[in-house]
Amino acid sequence: MPSPIVITNNIRKLRFFANEMTQQELAEKAGASRQTIIAIEAGKYSPSLEMAFRIADAFGVSITEVFAHEVKEK
């Protein structure tokens, strides 16, 4: 079995640089609920590729600037 992957994100940092965009504003732009944005930001939920692109679009950056991955060693 492949090693598990941990997905990390820079949403908090990107919100700060986007004039302290609120989680609610980001949720509205990405078409998600505020709870989902909170969960993604806290690393408690890995979004679908579609939502990941929508979040990146909301900040006007590429998806790799929002999300990164680390391979967890077994």
Binding site: P4, A27, A32, S33
Partner: protein, 164 residues
């Protein structure tokens, strides 16, 4: 606590109340149905009561939730109007892919418990227990499965779900 978590708690409460009411009614010697037909009728009545109670509890929950959001909105901003309150309520109730995924995952738990109940009911027949016993196993495990589904859904909302 989010809207989804509160909604899940309302659903667990209605399921638990139904199961408790059924057990209290059906296993009370004064009400115990005499034959299989009587048990089937009792269960059908409780299914109907369960559907009705769930709808009523959800309606009451939505009313109280909306009132709560409106009061919170007024406390935060005294000048917010009805349109803004309505928008806040809608925003709190948004459901997306995460909700669907959590619902799907918790459904699996519900089906597993119900499936276990079905097998247990068949085994009860194989080991010469009465059909009434089998019917009760089915009804109770299906109701319990629905409660387990709600509890797992609540746990997933609190703990998070990361695919890994």
């Amino acid at each position: 606590m989010s809207y989804q978590e509160k909604k899940t708690l309302a659903s667990i409460t209605s399921g638990a109340l139904l199961l408790a009411a059924y057990c209290l009614y059906a296993f009370n010697p004064a009400n115990t149905p005499a034959d299989l037909k009587g048990w089937a009728t009792t269960m059908l009545i409780f299914i109907a009561i369960g559907i009705g109670a769930t709808i009523i509890i959800q309606i009451i929950f939505h009313i109280f939730f909306s009132i709560g959001v409106a009061i919170q909105g007024k406390i935060q901003n005294r000048e917010c109007d009805d349109k803004e309150i309505e928008k806040n309520i809608k925003l709190e109730m948004v459901e997306d892919e995460r909700d669907k995924l959590i619902e799907m995952k918790s459904n699996q738990v519900g089906f597993a418990v119900a499936g276990f109940g079905f097998v247990a009911a068949l085994l009860a027949l194989v080991f010469n227990y009465s059909p009434v016993f089998m019917l009760n196993i089915l009804f109770i495990t299906f109701s319990f499965g629905s409660i387990c589904e709600g509890i797992y859904q609540f746990v997933l909302y609190r703990r998070g779900y990361t695919h890994a």
